[in-house]
Amino acid sequence: MYYPVSSVLIECIILSVVETADSYGYEISQTVKLVADIKESTLYPILKKLEKNGDLTTYTQIFQGRKRKYYSLTPVGKEHLQFLRHEWSKYRDSLDAIIEGGIRE
């Protein structure tokens, strides 16, 4: 993708991914990479931060004989996601209004 994606938006994407179903590192990463040119060394600290802030909890499950860490959304994270979604739609609508609608101040 041509446009850079900020780390706040990546937080929003991660929380959205795990909202419907719990997910694991690789899957989350692949989804984020659909829109953002991001490295694991950047993504992992964001996941870690969300976990520390209480937006995400983790648990380990055995998958094909090896461990896999799953991330799931907490009530705090749900609230945070609602806020981020609201902010995102405001941002997107304003951008659309300017870029497509030619709105001026």
């Binding site: 590192g25 490295k39 950047t42 992992y44 996941l47 870690k48 520390k52």
Partner: protein, 194 residues
Amino acid sequence: MNRESYLQELKKYLKKLPHEDYVDAIDYFTEYFDDAGTENEQIVIKELGTPKQAASELLNQLVEKQTHAAAKTWSMKRTFWLALLAIFAAPIGIPLALTAILLLFSGILVLFSLLVALVSLLVADFLVAGKLILRGLVALPVSFSGGVSLIGLGALLIGIGLLVLPVVPTIWKITKGWSLNTVTRLTRKQVIRS
């Protein structure tokens, strides 16, 4: 480079992280390789960059995320060590970073020595002044003019000492402020803004 040697090298660079964080990070990358599958091993390695680069970025990001957000859960000490680690893992290389750190350290030492020297000078000044005044008092009955000039000299030294005295706390403040500043700036410069 294959997955095993990549992870080995990454471990080397992340070893100094707090144990829990180290295990978490290594687990994450191990699982990532597992989930990507052996057929994508080289793609993953290419994407991550060299282990040194990946470790450096990881440490920087961890420091930045920590200082910006959950400051409560991260003690100052932990942040300091992480920052130090980030410096050492930085691409400029250990020798260069080490030289910079040592230079700064010697700068701080020089300021501190100047301070100590000034304080000793002042102490000596007051001691000599006291001695001169005493000598002058003792000499008064023998030679009035000689005694008075000795007392005068002593008073002059005390005056000079009192003039220089206020400089000491100022230099102390500068030394402290400067060393703290350089340490914080040194650590902040390593953080890649993204």
